[in-house]
């Protein structure tokens, strides 16, 4: 029963990935046969300012976007797990952006972010004069200011936390009712219940989701940076590792070099996952979960 | 210890079966036989290996040594589905996505019994356990007792060679348990089926069983009819496990000297056991004791005493003649009412 999956896993992912990672140690331009280069690519990466910027961008993105996404999903799951007025449509609404195909999603935001004619800034300008907001400030320059552009990419990614939301909602609904009854008998406040009951009980799922989001954050940033900001504003405000690798490999034909960047990216991911897992284990030991 | 008469042609025979779970031996050289049409209750405390025994019979756990025979067939190497056994799980293991009727017919449907026939047999089985009115419901809508009946019906429907019941009554409340106990016994008598029933409840075992096998640490401690188990417990362990409150066990040289003629073989280190109802309060030459507390259970009362030597003793007395807390009493017992055990091996001595 595992056979098709194993064929797919090895043939379509592990083997190709191994080939690419092996190419990290070669000089390969996609055209001529690769030649052994040892660690030359890696040592060049260390001094490459663009790579460093891309790395920083990716790390900052992960550090900001992952907590935001998970917290938003958790908040929504806790808010909407119980039946109440409007909770059903609200649940569907929270999922909708996740359903939009990536490219369409990129195109949508490209228009929403349009600095002059986009709905977001037009809304922000309501009540203001001369193209300023009501508070007399310039509206965010989503596509031309480095900080605003980074925020824009994060904003885009935050809206698509539907998958995380669904899992957390299910996890919350699966929690046993009796512990909440005990908490009610002890007259615990909402915050106490959250901190001492809900959070510890949901911690395993949360940990899993954070790991997943961390891994995926490198992928989340690709299409927005590719379609919406094109890696800019200049020089490299939203050039994330994924885009850096794509450009280096496919536009500048330096596949070996791009593979080295991929290697670094994967090692970082593994490190982040292991670190996070250890932190979680300590937490789990503490709560004896 | 008891040398079981093993015939491989019985309803169910375990011949020197050992089994391990996660590297720990759970069953050790187990020899046991259940006659055709017999209801054997496997009794023992938690961790004695009772459930493992059933799972080995069903083929859900492998044996490390020994052989399993069902209705004259060696099934040791057969997979569960080929052994023609049915099992009632402690959790009932009903499929929540199927209706009661579908649950009962499940075993038939997966064996490609035609739908109409399967439905008919499921209805019959449901009627036998008094669950015919539940057929259209789903497990989520049933009470504990109803689920138990459905689980039984699912076991019945296939007419297996052996029924395996894994603590099926333990999740029911007392009244229901008493009722289901009786129904289960009646069902067995009606079907004449071979059944192995696992429980840790000694009352259930005594009431239900044709024979009882007392299990301790993966070994059979004693096999016998309820009478034999009660009246001639083969060891101190069996004596202590069967009966509530438990049998009093005191050192043979100890603080109480039973009256009457001692049985033969009282030499060496011995222990004597006697049930609370055998204790005589107010025996003039009895041992001195004080009353710690008294529990009244209807017309009877249990007096918890401490002998001068410090040993605790429980006595059953009529509630009307019960002593009061703090009273000084004299305690006696007849040799005829005692059981003598070897102090080192814990085994019954002589008769």
């Amino acid at each position: 029963m595992l056979a098709p999956y194993l064929v797919g896993l090895v043939g379509l992912v592990l083997l190709p990935a191994a080939v690419t990672l092996a190419l990290a140690f070669t000089e390969y331009d996609l055209v001529n046969p690769p030649s052994w280069a040892g660690l030359a690519n890696v040592s060049e990466l260390v001094t490459d300012p663009v790579f460093r910027v891309a790395l920083t961008n990716s790390l900052v993105f992960a550090l900001v976007a992952v907590p935001l996404r998970v917290l938003l999903a958790l908040g929504l799951a806790l808010l909407l797990h119980r039946r109440s007025f409007g909770s059903r449509p609200a649940r569907v609404a929270a999922l909708l952006p996740t359903a939009v195909p990536e490219i369409a999603y990129g195109l949508l935001w490209l228009w929403l972010f349009n600095p002059l004619y986009g709905p977001i800034n037009q809304l922000l300008r309501v009540g203001g004069e001369n193209g300023l907001t009501m508070l007399g400030r310039t509206p965010p320059q989503w596509l031309t200011d480095p900080t605003d552009a980074r925020a824009a990419i994060i904003l885009m990614s935050v809206f698509t936390m539907g998958e995380t939301f669904v899992v957390l909602l299910a996890a919350r609904r699966a929690l046993p009712a009796d512990v909440y009854e005990v908490a009610a008998l002890e007259d615990a406040t909402g915050w106490d219940v959250f901190r001492r009951v809900t959070l510890p009980l949901m911690a395993p799922v949360l940990a899993l989701l954070v790991v997943r989001d961390l891994i995926a954050s490198l992928h989340f940033s690709f299409v927005p940076a590719f379609v919406v900001t094109d890696g800019g504003p200049p020089p490299y405000a939203t050039t994330y590792l994924s885009l850096f690798i794509y450009r280096t490999g496919f536009e500048y034909l330096r596949y070996g070099y791009a593979a080295a960047a991929t290697l670094v990216m994967m090692l970082l991911t593994v490190a982040a996952v292991v670190l996070q897992w250890r932190l979680f284990r300590r937490y789990r030991a503490f709560y004896r979960l | 210890m008891s040398d079981v008469d093993l015939t491989h042609d019985a309803g169910l025979t375990l011949d020197g079966v050992s089994a391990a779970y996660r590297g720990v031996t759970v069953l050790q050289q187990l020899r046991l036989t259940v006659a055709r049409g017999e209801l054997l209750v496997v009794l023992g405390p938690s961790g004695a290996g009772k459930s493992t025994l059933l799972r080995v019979v069903a083929g859900l756990e492998p044996v490390t040594t020994g052989r399993v025979w069902i209705a004259g067939r060696d099934v040791t190497a057969d997979r569960p589905g080929r052994r023609n056994v049915s099992m009632v799980f402690q959790s009932y293991a009903l499929f929540p996505h199927l209706t009661v009727a579908e649950n009962i017919a499940f075993g038939l449907v997966v064996r490609d019994v035609p739908k109409v026939a399967a439905r008919e047999r499921a209805r019959t089985a449901a009627e036998q356990v008094g669950a015919a009115h539940l057929l259209g419901r789903r497990p989520g809508q049933l009470s504990g007792g109803e689920r138990q009946r459905v689980a039984l019906a699912r076991a019945l429907v296939r007419e297996p060679d052996v029924f395996l019941l894994d603590e099926p009554l333990s999740n029911l409340d007392l009244a229901l348990r008493v009722q289901m106990r009786a129904e289960l016994r009646a069902l067995h008598d009606r079907l004449g089926a071979t059944m192995a029933h696992v429980t840790h409840d000694q009352t259930e075992a005594l009431v239900l069983a044709d024979r009882i096998a007392v299990l301790r640490d993966g070994r059979v401690e004693q096999v016998g009819t309820p009478d034999e188990i009660w009246h001639t417990p083969a060891s101190r362990f069996v004596a202590g496990f069967v009966g509530s409150p438990a049998m009093n066990v005191l050192p043979g040289s100890g603080p109480i000297q039973p009256s009457g003629a001692p049985p033969a073989g009282m030499a060496g280190e011995r222990e004597i056991g006697f049930r609370p109802e055998a204790v005589v309060l107010g025996e003039p030459d009895g041992a001195a004791a004080t009353v710690d507390r008294v529990e009244v259970v209807g017309t009877d009362a249990y007096a918890y005493l401490t002998l001068r030597a410090g040993n605790p003793v429980v006595a059953r007395v009529p509630a009307a003649h019960r002593p009061a807390r703090g009273d000084a009493v004299r305690v006696g017992v007849h040799w005829a009412d005692t059981h003598v055990f070897d102090a080192t091996t814990g085994l019954r001595c002589a008769a």
Binding site: L2, P4, Y5, L6, G8, L9, V13, L14, P16, A17, V19, T20, L76, L80, S84, F85, P89, A90, R91, V92, L95, L96, P97, A99, V100, P101, E102, I103, A104, L107, L108, W111, L112, L116, P119, E163, A170, A171, A174, A177, E181, G190, P204, L218, V223, S242, I245, G249, T262 | R55, L60, R79, P80, G81, S86, M87, Q90, S91, F95, G140
Partner: protein, 286 residues
């Protein structure tokens, strides 16, 4: 929804309900407008100088954007291709993921752990690292310039994550139920089909929806593996619309609406199932 409220509300009674309703309203207000704007934008007349003030209902309402998207972008043809890919790939992918997840759950722990780790590693591989080697594989198999490379990811359940989700779901099912199946002499395939799969319907619904969206919006794969314009899928068609000028936004928004519609529909249908789980053992993931 089953009405199985998990415990009493931390905020008691009416105040709690009001807060919750307000919260729901807020969620609606945040999440719905982007999509409404997508629709309203797509109905604007293309090529006009952009309006300096916000317009929720375009004036004039025009379907020219849709007509141009269909004509210029070949959106219709692309939609058919996308549909073809999804119709083959999604069921296949769910099948593979469910089978593999089940087999994993029944495997000896040590072997299962090996495959789980391999799957986690596979999750960490960025898509860009796979393009070139996969292209070579597909070329050797003579499959470039067909839709097969777009269907191929179904072989690994689209994403190893979905296999792991199934694995966890199947593992969470009570052991007694598996044993009951074994006593009834069922094959692993039979247990999977008659017992395990029906028990995790919410998971299947969720994974089907996610797989659909993933397949439907797959962009990099067709970009690399598909040449023939007649084989273009929707994301590629949209990509060619995205090079249009910003003021032609109604055209590409129209394309985006056309591409989004089916995905939203599938999600809408599936969410009823994965939010609706009243059977007690059919818990969604652990």
């Amino acid at each position: 929804m089953g009405g199985r409220a998990s415990g009493p509300p931390p905020l008691s009674g009416r105040i709690g309900r009001i807060w919750r309703a307000l919260g729901s309203l807020f969620v609606l207000l945040v999440f719905v407008p982007p999509l409404l704007l997508l629709v309203s934008g797509s109905l604007t007349e293309p090529g006009l100088p952009p309006s300096p003030t916000p317009q929720v209902i375009p004036d004039p309402v025009s379907t020219a954007g849709y007509r141009q998207a269909l004509a210029v972008g070949g959106v219709l043809r692309a939609a058919l291709n996308s549909l073809l890919v999804a119709v083959v790939a999604v069921p296949l992918s769910v099948l593979v993921a469910a089978l593999a997840g089940f087999a994993l759950a029944r495997l000896a722990p040590r072997r299962a752990a090996l495959i789980v780790v391999a799957s986690l590693v596979a999750l960490m591989v960025p898509a860009t690292a796979l393009l070139v080697p996969r292209f070579a594989i597909f070329r050797v198999l003579g499959l470039t310039d067909t839709l097969v490379p777009l269907i191929a990811p179904a072989l690994l359940g689209t994403s190893p994550l979905y296999v792991l989700v199934y694995y966890l779901a199947f593992r969470a099912l009570p052991r007694d139920l598996y044993d009951a199946c074994l006593v009834e002499d069922m094959t692993p395939m039979g247990i999977w089909w008659r017992f395990a799969l029906p028990m995790v319907r919410p998971v299947t619904a969720a994974i089907t929806a996610l797989t659909f969206v993933f397949t439907w919006s797959n962009f990099l794969d067709p970009l690399i593996y598909v040449y023939d314009r007649d084989l273009f899928t929707l994301p590629l068609a949209l990509r060619s619309l995205s090079v249009l000028d910003p003021t032609n936004f109604p055209v590409f928004l129209a394309g985006a609406v056309l591409a989004t519609g089916p995905a939203v529909l599938v999600f809408g249908l599936a969410q009823r199932r994965f939010f609706h789980h009243d059977d007690q053992t059919g818990r969604n993931r652990p």
